[in-house]
Symmetry: C2
Subunit: 163 residues, 2 copies
DNA sequence: ATCAAAAGTGAAAGTCATTATCATTTGCAA
DNA sequence: TTGCAAATGATAATGACTTTCACTTTTGAT
């Protein structure tokens, strides 16, 4: 990650969704842009604390919601876990997550997409969204099965693959 | 629904998962067996109240969890909504839900299942589970779009279709 | 630049679904 | 029948948000 962004770009994004440009929004947005993918609201809040300890978590949650409402971000809810946020990409993709180390991979599959549309049509539904989540044990965790499960913060890795 | 069940059958199910047979478990289990599909823990709790007001919701939640752990029930989590429970069926299926009236339909699709396994394999994952949820507007709600959204308890209908 | 209206903010309280605690009760194997 | 692990229910706690509200900031119009 660690892309560099200038505040002009950030301001543009904020203005385009029709809300006011504030210091807190710039900081939050920059953090999301330059930080890890698949972050939780808590993670953003904590990651921002050292640079701007005055920003409340309500503001983080609120802005994250706003960004989702305007399709700048996409909310990813895996299981009952806290929501994670990622940049809304042109290309749709789904997620594959390890139940042990919680790492997340992304994948795309046109065939499945097409089949979903077909199914919705058969039920007379106007499809607005879908969620496809695969859960399993990643290759690394299959090997380390004997090692006790980690207790620390789960590592969030991310990759995209075209299948 | 309204299948009739005798307590011998219920007791058998409870004993088979290796826990004690209690009055509350019999009542909860009968309620799930004879009641609606896709019920929430709250719904079970409330539905039971008039016949056994002494059963606490902790007991309902606990037993529902136990039933899930032993594959008697399956937990279905759509979006951030409360978990719903359904009988674990031999045949796997996925869900299609209306974002407006919250009705749930079930469907099966072998092709998608096969593709999922293939994707997991490509990532070196040992697939343990998957979630495929389609969200949209059902045919009924497409027609009633002009009528203000209902405020009362959403109707839960359920169907299975083989595609 | 100034200024008021509207929008945004932070702290704290509130929700909602679910889980944990713990003193008491109950199922059931011996 | 009895001993005791398992189960229960009341209540408190938790986690992830969301709402409220008094105060602050942005911004478009002047």
């Amino acid at each position: 990650m660690n892309k560099s962004v200038n505040s002009t770009q950030l301001k543009k994004i904020i203005r385009e969704i029709g809300v006011k440009v504030t210091r807190q929004r710039l900081i939050i947005l920059e953090n999301i842009l330059t930080g890890d993918e698949h972050v939780t609201a808590q993670a953003v809040y904590e990651s921002i604390r050292h640079i701007a300890p005055d920003i409340g978590f309500a503001t983080v949650y609120r802005f994250l919601r706003t960004l989702c409402d305007h399709k700048v971000l996409t909310e990813v809810r895996m299981r009952g876990l806290p929501a994670r946020y990622e940049w809304a990409q042109k290309k749709h993709h789904d997620h594959l997550s390890c139940v042990r180390c919680k790492c997340i991979y992304e994948f795309e599959n046109e065939q499945i997409e097409a089949l979903q549309i077909e199914i919705a049509k058969k039920f007379g539904f106007k499809l607005t969204e879908h969620i496809l989540e695969l859960y399993g044990v990643c290759s690394k965790c299959q090997i380390e099965q004997n090692i006790p499960k980690e207790v620390s913060t789960p590592l969030q890795t991310s990759h995209v693959a075209q299948l």
